[in-house]
Amino acid sequence: MIKYFPLSIFCLFSLFSNAQGNLTGNIESIFQYLNEDTIIDAKQPAEKGLINSYMNVFYTYGNFKAGMRLESYLPRIQGYPNRFDGTGIGMRYVGYANDFVDVTLGSFYEQFGTGLSLRAYEDRALGYDNLIDGARLIVRPRKGIVLKGVYGYQRLSFQQGKIIHGNGIVRGIDAEINLKEAFKKLDSLPLDIVLGGSFVSKYQKDDDESLILPENVATYGGRAKLRYKDIFFDAEYVIKEQDPSADNQKIYNYGHAAVFNLGYTTKGLGLLFSGKSVDNMSFRSDRNKDLQDLFINYLPSLNKTHTYNLVATLYPYATQPLGEVAYQADVLYTFKKGSLLGGKYGMTIGANYSTTFRPVQHTSNINLLDSTRVTYETRPFDKSDSLYWEDINFNITKKFSKKFSAIASYYSIKINNDVAKISNDSKGIIHANIGVLELAYKINSKHSLRMELQGLFVQKENGAIKDKGNWATALIEYSISPNYFFSFMNQYNYGNPDSEKRVNYPIFTCGYIREATRFMISYGRQRAGLFCVGGVCRFVPASNGLTLSFTQSF
């Protein structure tokens, strides 16, 4: 029956193509032609050419909805999981939605709260897709109340053009109530309150001869969002019951995850303070998987998402699901136009601090020789002094004239390479200081120029260069609005302790954009490293060659 499902959707599309309805979607194709480059250890694949292609099609007709994504890996581009191959349907669904119910059968993405208990999502840049294949029901019994139920298997991989599911089944319910919307009596209250709770359970057969494994594992928790005028606060806390897995060495401890955000925003000023506490919260639908496979939940990263090349790609921090206690503070202030520091066009300064520590694992009340396999106790936000990550950064954005503006940034990053492994060339804490100067010049209404100068300086340890030493990056970008852009970037690892590895990584990129169509060509070197989005990372090997990409929306 399952194999006829895509065919059924196709038939439905055909059926409704003669009727009125709304058809939207997008296409993306990325082609790489790679060369061998022994200097950076880039390999040429046997096929030489690699291509990933995707097409999403979404159709709605009245209350009916259907959609699918065709995927093609012939073969996959560099850095993608090696089990993606073939051409076929990677996502498909049909459903019906009105104001009261929204039902989906097939593939769907979903998130409960901040995702601590369940988040199914796709991040194509990471090759990450943990969609749920099954059924989802969303009910809105009255305004302000949303109930959700999901049931299904997760997508593990895509082989020979077919979705491969994980071994475990995922079940979850979530309820959320906006008190002011649900109860009119509270309408005059100046405080917005949204409360929610979720329960997610997975089933996987006990496949271990040496242990009695819990086959049904639950995660549950509650959350709240409050807003009072310019102040907002949100928090979520979830508990995971016994979930022995390959990640946690099959211990029988409970796990927990907690996040909170406290913020204040007013014109010209934004303040944010966040905290996160995680212990033993790797929650997958297959207890034997690792890396980024089959995560049911999502543990948000609590550090600023950087965009400049060196700071974003050399030392990114991957969330540690086994345990971390993290805090972040963020300030954004804009000096008014006409003020002493603001000048004619105003000036914005931002400061951000984030830090992550190992949680304390108490063992004083634990008998490691008993048969419970409970190996320690933890408490939320009980941090040790073992540093995993620290990021202190400032930036100043200043517009000097109608044509010229600049952004100056400084970053101090410390990453514990023994825990958040980023490099094979170093141990312990790597401390890097990064400076970036971005200059933008608008030549006229259509032509503009942008330049970045970046330097990354790794602190020496006992006089010795750590990791790969210092880097410099220069980028120049020329845009002809609205159709063309050209850029050239070069990364130079001039401080590498091995003089033979003091390598340049030049890359030239140009693109053409017309309405919803975009072509892009780039040629050059890309260094090996981790590519991270929101604390989720994948390894990308070094490459040298041509990349062509095409995107189209409709």
């Binding site: 009910v139 019994p141 009255r142 109340i145 109930l147 139920g149 071994n167 079940r171 319910i173 309820a175 329960f199 359970s201 089933y203 057969k205 496949d207 001869e209 040496s210 242990l211 009695i212 494994l213 819990p214 086959e215 049904n216 594992v217 639950a218 019951e241 016994q242 022995p244 099959k250 029988y252 048969s371 419970t372 396999r373």
Partner: protein, 312 residues
């Protein structure tokens, strides 16, 4: 508000069955590796002195084949598959062995269920059902009966339709890639119906890095009983062959060979067990044998299987 209450209750009821399991003591009760010495009708020291085998060098050079035929007494297409499996054994009597496991992908299904008066005999056993249930939903699964494995070789799928058995068996016989060698000695004592099985396992291919498991199937050679035939008729004189009666030790997937089992580079595993009555209630140890196999704990592939008669 009533609707909200009803919907909430419905959600909670729907999920109450999927709550979580709590395990206080994660360690399963261990299979006792101690031999039941009472099954020896005499002083155990005499057994050790006189009957405990001393293995000589294993001169076997052939890799054998185990065909697991997942079957059922009410499965109309199963007799043809059983005939094929038996014919393959007859064609290679010393190298191809069959185990007829009465289980479907969900364990005891419509084909295996006992339904007197026509199908009164329960051919199933807990280990066979566990194996069927496991492979029913894991490692590629299998849709129903008849399906089988040929040395659990993964030819795209571990489970194959009978149409594939002959060619897969021929391939393995021809390749004759012997990576693990097994030899065994079994001492049976009719007075107690007890038996002691001694097995020596030699890993010939040191490139095998995955863990190895060892399983001993107790097989009833043949039994005349009831079977639904391909024309839907009931045959009360059907000869059931090579009936899997269970695993010695009671573990569906046997036990893992560990360094504790190694003496001078070879693994030694010993079992004691009581030879059960036939499914018709009579005791006849001559109608029983053991199939001993060693398999890869990751890929499931069976690297070697041997047949051990209970009464030589």
């Amino acid at each position: 508000m009533k609707n909200l209450f009803r919907i909430t209750v419905a959600f909670l009821i729907a999920f109450q069955f999927s709550s979580c399991d709590h395990v206080k003591d994660p360690y399963p009760k261990q299979e006792s590796l101690d031999l039941d010495t009472t099954l020896y009708p005499g002083n155990w020291s005499d057994y050790v002195a006189n009957d405990w085998p001393q293995f000589t060098a294993n001169s076997n050079t052939n890799r054998n084949v185990l065909i697991e035929d997942f079957t059922g007494h009410q499965c109309v297409f199963c007799p043809a598959a059983a005939d094929l499996a038996h014919a393959l054994h007859e064609a290679n009597p010393s190298r191809v062995f069959t185990a007829s496991i009465h289980s479907g992908p969900t364990g005891i299904g419509d084909f295996q269920v006992v339904s007197p008066p026509n199908y009164p005999v329960d051919f199933t056993n807990p280990q066979g059902v566990e194996i069927g249930t496991y492979f029913g939903t894991n490692d590629g699964g299998f849709p129903g009966n008849p399906r089988g494995t040929v040395n659990r070789y993964n030819n795209g799928f571990i489970f194959q339709s009978p149409a594939q058995w002959t060619s897969m068996m021929n391939d393995q016989i021809t390749q004759n890639n012997l990576r693990v060698n097994i030899q065994s000695v079994l001492n049976y004592y009719p007075q107690t119906k007890g038996a002691f099985l001694h097995v020596e396992v030699e890993k010939l291919d040191q490139n095998l890095t995955n863990q190895l498991g060892i399983v001993s199937y107790l097989i009833e050679d043949s039994l005349v009983g009831d079977q639904k035939m391909s024309d839907n008729s009931h045959n009360s004189a059907y000869v059931h062959r090579d009936i899997h009666r269970g695993n010695i030790g009671g573990q569906a997937f046997g036990r893992t060979l560990t360094s504790n089992d190694i003496i001078n580079g070879k693994y030694y595993v010993n079992y004691s067990f009581v030879v059960p009555n036939q499914l018709d209630g009579n005791h006849n140890a001559e109608n029983m044998h053991v199939l001993i196999y060693v398999y890869d704990k990751v890929t499931w592939e069976i690297y070697q299987v041997i047949k051990q008669k209970i009464v030589p």
